[in-house]
């Protein structure tokens, strides 16, 4: 079926506002990941969901960041009280669950905080 989709593709917000970024993984994929990519940089791990297990939140940079996933479907990454340093591309990936499998990435959401 379709690949990983993310929305919106671009988001411009003012400092201090909250934003929600959405990820639709590939159907049947039990694992879902969020990464952040600053301009010219590599991917920075944020959070990882695997089935019904407790998520690995070890990469979230502050308590302003949170994410939820409904079952094995859609995930939402929320950033509260956005700061200019939150400006980046936020990438979502999914995989079929086994630890050593490839990850399929969405096109990303480009967030700009003014």
């Amino acid at each position: 079926g379709a690949g990983v989709s993310q929305s919106p593709s671009n988001k411009v917000t003012e400092k201090g506002k909250d934003v929600e970024l959405r990820c639709d993984p590939i159907s049947g994929h039990t694992a879902l990941y969020w990464y952040r990519q600053r301009l010219g940089q590599g991917l920075e791990f944020l959070i990882y969901f695997q089935g019904n297990s407790a998520p690995d939140k070890s990469g979230l940079p502050s308590d302003r960041f949170s994410a939820e996933r409904t079952g094995e479907s859609v995930s939402t990454l929320t950033i509260q009280r956005t700061q200019q340093e939150d400006s980046a591309v936020y990438l979502c990936a999914s995989s079929s669950g086994a630890a050593d499998l490839e990850q399929f990435f969405g096109p990303g959401t480009r967030l700009t905080v003014l």
Binding site: Y33, G42, E44, D100, E102
Partner: protein
Amino acid sequence: SQKIEQNSEALNIQEGKTATLTCNYTNYSPAYLQWYRQDPGRGPVFLLLIRENEKEKRKERLKVTFDTTLKQSLFHITASQPADSATYLCALNSGNTGKLIFGQGTTLQVKP
């Protein structure tokens, strides 16, 4: 602390030559390593995975080596083409999960 390093400078080569990209890591003992390609404005695309007990993996014009003693992986593209121009990212697994730690990527430019 754990670190993954890729050549930060862009690699420029002539069409038809072999491109070699390097990924070095410290303070890791990864069970596997993956290479991804990323084009501007797009998400990364998986290319190859190599496990710690494998020394070399090939796929068409691509070859990856993994030296756990040197803590290094080399990524080769033979008979390079302008369409191979992109940023290439290496990624190591962290722990027993699918969580990946990425290097900053190396940009390859193949000139016709």
